[in-house]
Symmetry: C2
Subunit: 571 residues, 2 copies
């Protein structure tokens, strides 16, 4: 381990801490694939292909055979097998690895975390393919969300941990209490940062890295050993992450079991057993609301951070340029086939239409504009594939097909054929028109490429419905289009009260789906979409504890009569 | 509301924030009764007596009749009745009061919190009598722990809240993302601090203010309305606190229901219903392990912070001066009759005795020295009353009497007669000698004035037992006497691993029972004695959430083709 190289990460951490507090634009890992060198993409693909049809080797043995997934959502045969381990073996190894990791100064842990992110960053082109062929994300998104954007989120978690731990004095503190004319009482105090204990990070099928890195790095920097349990369909990106981590830990003289991989199959899941193990002290979960709720009800002994999902809304009240609005939304609803937890599901439009700079537009005009923009965007199959990616799960396809049979379809979903990936399930979004009264249709999460145009009495009803759904079902994003300051204020009040972040009047190359590290707090923790924010101070500050020692400094202690000194500071 | 006077508290907050990070000696509220003015004690007693045999009036009506306690642990007839309210009425009123309080800038809330503490501080002499005659604490402790020490703890919570919220940008933030040769994307962002929601603070019978203020003020400063539910036997100190708060809130133009009092009787408790109410979002609890565990198992929908109790240990390995050690411990075990959650219960001594500056002392010598110091300290009844206070509950008396019948008694408990309080149950501590193998005796919490001298093989066994009990049953304090650096290091390792703070070699006028605000983290949250620390960053940082708005700044947006801009920052 080159300590000098490591020390250079200190500046990165300091910049990152500053960025978490300023929340203006800042990014440490470049999102442009080109920056990663000529031929990087091809090399990454080659590296990825070289991993297939083989057992994946970690840096330490595991005890329960090999399990793994067979197929990419793009149809590619993967046949990747990962070494499995029993729940007890994982937890025991983590516990054994903990003391040395916990005893390292937190700054050393932080520097090692940044070094790990740095190494993962260098593997971004490999990670792009690993992400693409496990999640079904289109390539560019796989590169960015599986690579630099996730890495920025990881660095953000390290920065919060570093800042929180920095508030605890690291040097001896002398507590000297004046005693009138007598010599003061003097205690030398040491404050030790200790970890909570074994940390479990449960990944999801759609954004394995982006969603797991915050919890993973937040726990790691605070001294906790981490067991990463990817979704059985999206193991590879996290397996690569764990392997890089294990290599680095070994180099740095730590037990590689500080970072472990837990794998299982859809048929024989181990996550419940892991999450309720008595020695697991922190659980991070991103994934479906059903399992999230199960965890919320059953994990009583550990800290639990959840990001589930919800029903995201767009409220259209007025616009400068309907076409610009339509173009923007067409991408928002199409990107990765609506499989982002920030993707809009419901678009609320007043029955009497909206005002635009070029005059009044009817409800039908608005629907037609968005429909036109979407069919335009996705007209070409090759281009559509680059936007939509593939459906990650058969459940989503079934949901899409079921909804396509029902009343109100204004734009049927179209199956896209990819020359490169003939077996992939690629489908354009389904547009359905419903009335505000049909809450049983649009009032629940319909994960995937399903969009409802909801006809409301007026914008007030639109806003109230959006806020009601966020409060009741959870929401991670909201978008409002309005030039009316009163409407903007009302929207802010209602949606803030529902605990959902809101974007106004987005057009051009910025989308409601996007949450930028170091600026946007992802998930508020203030509605049922999740109980935590990835990442803020509260997400990290409880992952370590402080234990202190006090030793009396041997000065001449004149003893006061105890009755005068019943300074019984406490209970 | 005098805004200028209020603004002066800003400096207090800044000093307090600095103190939480430095953790040297700092106190804002003077602990010396004399500082509070000539005749203050007498005036406080008068004020207290004037409250008795009357209904206690809050600043707003409640809907469920009057309930209250009859008798002080010192035997004084109180016959105080408090206005009760139904659970739904309390929660509804809190919810109605929340929006305006939450909408105030956090700095305004922080200043008002400090103003409230400032006013409570002025009432410290009244609070001393209110605390004394509800908890049984001796007067000096009542003054300090019910007054200035609790007020410092309150200020500490406000400081942590202020610091955590200060990290969220309060002004508009411009996020400007470069787009190569095109104009940057520019979003104006606002970050709003929103409260979690209704906060419930459950007080305990022994330290109503000291233990409740951290949660109360942490929730309040973060914008949450607070319902204070005192223990039915210790209502008055918190009722006075709530009344002062309601008066101040009204003056400042807020709904006094931002701070409410919930009262019940031992026979008809309402705490479970309150704690599991769906609209209660934060629960703070200090009290017995049994109810604490019930809460940990049943409160799934709200943040829960518990301080329960545990088994505190003293390990004696060696000492400079056995008499000084004995004197110090005699006060630690006598103060408020062991009814402090930091009071030592088990004193581990090696069977072969210990080394001191004046030669080897046998196990029996050590026991004899502590016994002698204790009988000396408590020999005079008037003086003993000032140290012991009264037993708060009949349960504690029964436990003491039961243990007194068993084998191993080396110093029986003696009933102390107070001329001033002839009806009070005042009892000196019971000393019992047991062997390290008798874990069924000393291996559980025996709340009250019961002390075990545990004869161990050696210091190693002593330390292992102390650490084991802390891990298994919880512990809030530990004391070690040793001049051997190796033993000190081993003690630190073992006890830190068990998540318990440890004090070394305390003699003179400083006791293991004492935890000072702004320096000692009270409770680590790292063993079963409690899941949180009162107070640290983690105790406060999750009591508010951040919700954000983003609005596109109307610069000329050249639209890049979407495929190049699939900057799909996230899931």
């Amino acid at each position: 381990m080159d300590k000098t190289a490591l020390a250079q990460h200190k500046e990165t951490i300091e910049k990152a801490v500053k960025a978490t507090q300023e929340r203006t634009y800042w990014s440490h890992y470049n999102e442009s694939p080109k920056v990663y060198g000529e031929g990087g993409q091809e090399a990454g693909e080659k590296e990825f292909l070289a991993l297939l049809q083989k057992p994946f080797t970690l840096n330490r043995a595991q005890d329960a055979g090999m399990v793994g997934g067979k197929k990419s959502p793009f149809g590619l045969s993967l046949d990747l097998k990962y070494p499995a381990a029993s729940v007890d073996a994982l937890v025991d190894a983590a516990k054994k690895a903990q003391p040395k990791w916990a005893a390292a100064p937190f700054e050393e842990r932080a520097l090692l975390c940044v070094e790990l992110i740095h190494r993962i960053n260098k593997a971004s082109h490999l990670m792009a393919y690993a992400t693409m062929h496990t999640t079904g994300q289109p390539w560019m998104m796989s590169f960015q969300a599986g690579g630099p954007h996730a890495q920025d989120r990881a660095l953000e978690a390290v920065a919060y941990g570093f800042a929180a731990m920095s508030q605890v004095p690291q040097q001896e503190v002398v507590w000297e209490k004046p005693q009138g004319k007598q010599p003061p009482i003097s205690l030398a105090k040491h404050f030790a940062i200790v970890p909570r204990g074994v940390s479990l990070v449960i990944g999801c099928a759609t954004f394995p890295n982006w969603n797991s890195y915050p919890g993973l790095f937040a726990s790691l920097v605070c001294g906790n050993p981490v067991i990463v349990k990817p979704h059985p369909m999206a193991i590879l990106p996290l397996a690569i992450t764990v392997l890089e981590g294990q290599k680095l830990l070994k180099e740095a003289g730590f037990d590689p079991a500080v970072l472990q991989l837990a794998v299982d199959t859809v048929a024989e899941p181990i996550t419940q057993k892991l999450a309720t193990h008595k020695d697991v002290k922190i659980v991070d979960f991103t994934g479906g609301p059903l399992f999230g709720q199960w965890l919320e009800e059953n994990v009583k002994h550990a800290l639990l951070y959840t990001e589930k999902a919800g029903v995201n809304s767009v409220v259209i009240d007025s616009a400068d340029d309907l076409d610009a609005l339509a173009k923007n939304l067409s991408l928002s609803v199409s990107l990765y086939s609506g499989q982002m937890c920030t993707a809009p599901q419901n678009i609320f439009i007043p029955k009497d239409g909206i005002q635009t700079a070029s005059g009044k537009k009817s409800f039908d005009d608005v629907v037609a504009a968005i429909t036109k923009a979407t069919t335009g965007l996705l007209g070409d199959d090759a281009r559509a594939t680059e936007v939509l990616g593939a459906l990650q799960s058969g459940e989503t396809l079934k949901r899409l097909q079921g909804e396509g049979q029902k009343a109100g379809v204004v734009l049927p979903s179209r199956k896209v054929t990819s020359a490169k990936f003939p077996q992939a399930e690629i489908h354009t979004p389904l547009f359905v028109q419903v009335d505000a009264s049909e809450k049983e249709r649009f009032g629940k999460e319909m994960f995937g490429p399903i969009v409802y145009f909801v006809k409301t009495k007026n914008t007030e009803e639109s806003l109230n419905l959006a806020a009601y759904l966020a409060k009741d079902k959870g929401a991670i994003s909201a978008a409002v289009y309005s030039n009316d300051e009163k409407v903007q204020t009302e929207a802010m009040e209602l949606l803030f009260d529902a605990g959902v972040n809101v974007s106004f009047n987005l057009v051009g190359n910025i989308y409601v789906n996007q949450n930028a590290a170091f600026s946007d707090f992802h998930v508020t923790g203030a509605n049922p979409a999740g109980n935590a924010c990835l990442t803020d101070l509260a997400f990290v500050a409880n992952r370590f504890r402080v234990v202190a020692s006090r030793i009396l400094k041997p000065v001449a202690q004149a003893e006061a009569p105890p009755a005068a000194g019943l300074a019984a500071s406490r209970s």
